[in-house]
Amino acid sequence: MSQPDTAAGLTAAKAGPPGAGGGIAARPRRPRRPWWPWWPRRPRRREPAVWLVAPGTLFFALIVGIPLVIVVWTSFLRIGSGNIASWATAPFAGLGNYETGLTGPNVLGVSVLESVWISVKFSVLATVASTPIAFFAALSVYHSFRGRALLRSVYLLPYVIPGFVVALLAQLAFHDNSGAVDRLLAALHIAPVSTFWLIGPNAFWAMTFTEVWEVWPFIYLLLLAGLQAIPRDQLEAATVDGAGWWARLRYVVIPQLKGIYALAFALSTLFHFGNFTLPYIMFGNTRPAATVTLPVNIYYIAFNGFDFGIASATAVFNVLLLAVPAAVYLWVVRFRPARRAAA
């Protein structure tokens, strides 16, 4: 549901002094309670502005909270195309949906467990491959020079082009025979002009390459922010002490980027894992088995196989699978500066 840039704002939430936002500056002192116990207690006066949070919370509960409860419930029900509208009265299936859902063959002929493996490979590989590009890019626009702002904008370009546009372009670029990739590789005598990037096992690599091209700037953004947060005195002190660029990088920069890189790694992997747009559109008419990521598989179980019970079970499985990295992320981003930084 989220765009990678969401994380940008969320990461920003960590800024600010500890304990800011808690407590009202000057709350009127409450009158001393009388010694006789039956005196009706004055209700505590609530600041009416607290209720401003209510409309947002209400929609959040309606569109995120309640569906999350319902999906757990329907994952235990037998819901087919016939009873989608009356799912509340669907027969109980116990854990059967989980059993058939995870291991059984389905609409696309790829079991959910295979899809999990494809998704894990895809998201981790994409993150790992993005790292050196992002790291270099961040280092290359750190020092000031003429045209730096422009270069920073250009670096963002792949990331800000809508995902569906990139996917459509990738489909044409990897098109057999006529696509730019096949023609380029053939011209360089690296591969035959008909390599078939959109079907068979090659499709996985075409998809991963496209994902790297599209999303590496996300890690770059986080690393650049981390770089800018390093106190400049440290770099200057190191330089005065005779440290060259490598020593500065190795002993000043990299140790201080570790933390934010861990965050970038987790978030980026999470977002690759959830990317539905790229595999869904890029392989719209071929749908090779190697590119059936978990979101695509669940989508097909639900909207082509119309088996909402099994689809719900696999979606719940997906939530559980991501709960561990999500918990780590929440623990890292705790709305206050990390203790280590304060100490």
Partner: protein, 288 residues
């Protein structure tokens, strides 16, 4: 002064220059390919003969009749626009108490805002779909395919970021201003309306842009709940060309339409990238 200048450099100049050149090629080639395809006749693109010799603007005229692209764009502007405006209004409302007041639900709310980011979209789409289907069956109104449901969904998905952006911005604003207003007899709500809200304009604009992009870029929810947005229109146009059984695929038109739907988004992003980077920098300051 000289060492200060030198200390900034984290790469030797030659490595930096060579690497940047490679990186620029890596970024630019696909983008230029998109532009060239959009400017090439359909027949040329189908044969893979994208070249710069026979460029034409015809695709930009023909694409409107090749697929309901205009309808998609209008729908997306309405859907993403309304949902973004609502997300910002609710987001400012939610951010103020979260940043300034203390109440019991504060921490749980902040955590669930953040935690919601890792909920996979399908775990929400499936139950939403059957909820809407169920309500449709009971009330006899059309929700799937209509605007209100998808607007509510995108608004809610834009809400966490809008809230957090405003929350962070508010914490950077001094309390003295609103407290002065309250001492002068303004209520807290009045202070929010007349003192805080005008100061928050930049945060609101940024939230608006990002919330708009949520709706504009989404494919997953649109393809199930309202399949006439610009993203799904293009997806289906592309699918029809790929499965076009012998007919000449209109890939030139497709790429022209893709370019048209990308340019405003890219412009919006680049116009506000400063805030994107600033927000990140503020976050990183606390030391992860």
């Amino acid at each position: 002064m000289r060492s200060r200048h030198r200390a900034d450099r984290l790469l030797p100049p030659l490595v930096s220059r060579a690497g940047v050149t490679v990186l620029l090629v890596f970024i630019a080639v696909p983008v230029l390919y998109l532009i060239v395809l959009a400017l090439s006749p359909n027949s040329t693109v189908a044969l893979g003969g994208a070249g710069v010799r026979h460029l034409t603007l015809r695709n930009f005229a023909d694409m409107w009749s090749a697929a309901p692209i205009a309808r998609g764009i209008v729908n997306s502007v309405i859907i993403a626009g309304i949902s973004a405006a609502l997300a910002v209004i609710l987001g400012v409302g939610a951010a103020y108490p979260l940043a300034r007041l203390s109440f019991r639900a504060r921490k749980p709310l902040l955590y669930s805002l953040l935690g919601s980011q890792s909920v996979p979209g399908l775990a929400l789409l499936l139950p939403l779909y059957i909820m809407l289907a169920g309500i449709q069956g009971i009330l006899g109104v059309r929700l799937i395919g209509g605007f209100p449901a998808i607007i509510a969904v995108y608004m809610t998905f834009g809400l966490p970021l809008a809230t957090v952006v405003c929350f962070v911005y508010l914490r950077g604003l001094p309390r003295d201003l609103e407290e002065a207003a309250m001492v002068d007899g303004c209520t807290r709500l009045g202070a929010l309306r007349w003192v805080v809200a005008p100061l928050m304009a930049p945060a609101m604009v940024v939230s608006l842009v990002f919330a708009f992009l949520v709706g504009w870029n989404d494919v997953l929810f649109a393809s199930a709940l309202q399949n006439q947005t610009v993203a799904v229109t293009l997806e289906q146009f592309g699918l029809a060309q790929a499965e076009g059984f012998g007919a000449q695929p209109l890939y030139g038109d497709l790429m022209a339409a893709a370019l048209v739907s990308a340019v405003p988004v890219v412009a919006l992003y680049l116009a506000f990238q400063r805030y994107l980077v600033h927000g990140l920098a503020a976050g990183a300051l606390s030391g992860t």
